[in-house]
């Protein structure tokens, strides 16, 4: 169980970090006045400072108003549901990088349908493959947009 207060602090810390990253990254390219007006780093530098400032503002607001933030941000049950949705997507992206988007699509759909949708394995696998084939025809044939491919497509001679 995560409280709203923790979530607020965590997110504000994350945005502070991103703001600092912009500030540090901008310093590398000069933030002063160059031959052609302001140097490339100037704008990101001040934007970064703005983000850091506003994030600190959020941190202070959350700390001052922490009594009002005792509400639950994420229940165990909800966290489980989100994780059961998010983890397969993570796996999908990893597989897509290795085996291409079509194979990843078929595997991902088949997995979610059979494990979370409780469909019969045969139906799930067939649906996954069917979806991948439909995507292939819509994208590569109709719109001529190439997708990320892997070893399977190479073996089948599809480019």
């Amino acid at each position: 169980m995560i409280s709203r207060y923790t979530a607020e602090i965590g997110t504000a810390t994350l945005t502070t970090g991103l703001g600092l990253a912009a500030v540090v990254g901008a310093l590398e390219f000069g933030i002063g006045w160059g031959d052609a007006g302001p140097e490339p780093g100037a704008f990101p530098f001040y934007i970064g400072l703005l983000v850091v400032g506003a994030s600190i503002g959020t941190l202070i607001q959350a700390t001052v108003g922490r009594h009002g933030l005792h509400s639950v941000f994420l229940h165990k049950e909800e966290a489980k549901r989100v994780a059961s949705f998010f983890l397969p997507i993570l796996a999908f992206v990893v597989v897509a990088r290795l085996l291409g988007l079509y194979v990843a699509t078929a595997l991902y759909l088949a997995f979610v349908m059979s494990v979370q949708g409780k469909y019969r394995l045969v139906i799930s696998i067939a649906s996954g493959i069917a979806a991948a084939v439909i995507f292939y025809f819509v994208l590569e044939v109709a719109f001529q947009v190439p997708l990320l491919k892997g070893p399977l497509e190479a073996a089948l001679g599809l480019y």
Partner: protein, 504 residues
Amino acid sequence: MENFASLLHGFGVALTTYHVMLMMIGVLLGILVGVLPGLGAPNGVSLLLPLTFTMDPVAAIILLTSMYWGALFGGSTTSILFNIPGEPSSVATTFDGYPMARQGQATQALTLAFLSAGFGALVGVILITVLSTWVAKFALRFSSPEYFAVYFLAFASFIGLGAASPFKTIVSMGLGFAFAAVGMDTVSGGLRLTYGFNELLSGISFLIAVIGLFGIGELMLTMEEGLRFDGIRARVKIRDVFKTVATLPRYWVTLLRSSAVGCWMGITPGGPTAASFMSYGLAKRLSRRKEGFGRGEPEGVVAPETADHAAGSSAILPMLALGVPGSATAAVMMGGLMIWGLNPGPMLFVERPDFVWGLIASMYLGNIVAVLMVLATIPLFASILRIPFAIIGPVIVVVCFIGAYTVAGRPFDLWLALAFGGVGYLFKKLDYPIAPLVLAMVLGDKAEDAFRQSMIMSRGSLSIFWSNGLVATLMLIGLALAFGPLLSSTLGRLLKPKTSSAVA
């Protein structure tokens, strides 16, 4: 009159079989993304955009705007039938639309929603027809400092008018600008903020951000709530439709008031969501049947729907005439225009009148097509939501990632989309507004260029933003919008103890 002639010319451009066909396809796709959870107007337009890169700009913008209309209609359908807003801007429609549907008045609620939405959109388009040339002519006087002031005004109004904490709005906006700065610097041509990653050399596309933030993030939120569709079977009966049409004039005050609210919120970047809530609130406060609101009062459907669509269509005006989009979807479309090599802003009216007026004419036609098609196809689309989420959810996920990949064909974008999805989920849960981030990503380079050119003009002095009446007025309005609410609440707090002690 000049506008009227241009508009007629525009109809000549828009009224071809090919374009009308594109409108129908666009509207159908739009209703589809509007009905499906996790896919909304900004997201749908982002997903479709890469497929239009090879099309003629006029045809492409007709397809995209029609999709926008369709998505707005689809969003209201699920609000009424399932009590699930398909779009954030149709949340207010659930308040009275769903109760009406539960009382067996689904057809009435849907018809009223679509017709008032069509009315609102029409008012928005008429406003664009009348005002656009004037605004564009006015904007021809703008140079860099004025442009920066207009961008400043747009972002300031987010800070001041948004419902979220001003700090959160600034964080969201600032991150958008920072993401936009990654990659090539448009002024010096050098690379920056890549931190040694080759993947970041070509920058972060705003399309990836929209797909992640609106698509994956929204889906995660839907999953967390444990999606359950509790739909009401809708059979649209033709007789009921006509009966409802006859009752529409009864709501003329609400229609006009809501259109005005919608147009105002659409032109200023308040956006359709704020417009629909504001209009609902006003209707409730001013209605003679206050107690009926929330229990199936038809006026409670008319008000938010009219404002939603009026805002949605009038958001195109500042995008075309000034190059400052009034909503997240308009921002995505403007990004598309820039990718097609068009430069939104006053010069567009001079250089490509066929494009501008073809687009405006297509908005009239597109909305009529949309109202007719949505009435005809609602039972079909409502049945889509009866497909179990274990199938439809993953398919939406796959479509989002494929869309992310087609933007530039870079595998790294898949990771970016996933990361933006996580951020979108967190931001939505913690009430960080997402629209400013998208707007900042689209406008980032232009705002920075305007700022740097102004600095070059003034040799580094910020006083250029006060140098003439026009730019000073714009900056003043911006400052007033940004700090006005803060000042008034501080003043209120300072004055309050006195009054309470006086009472005591």
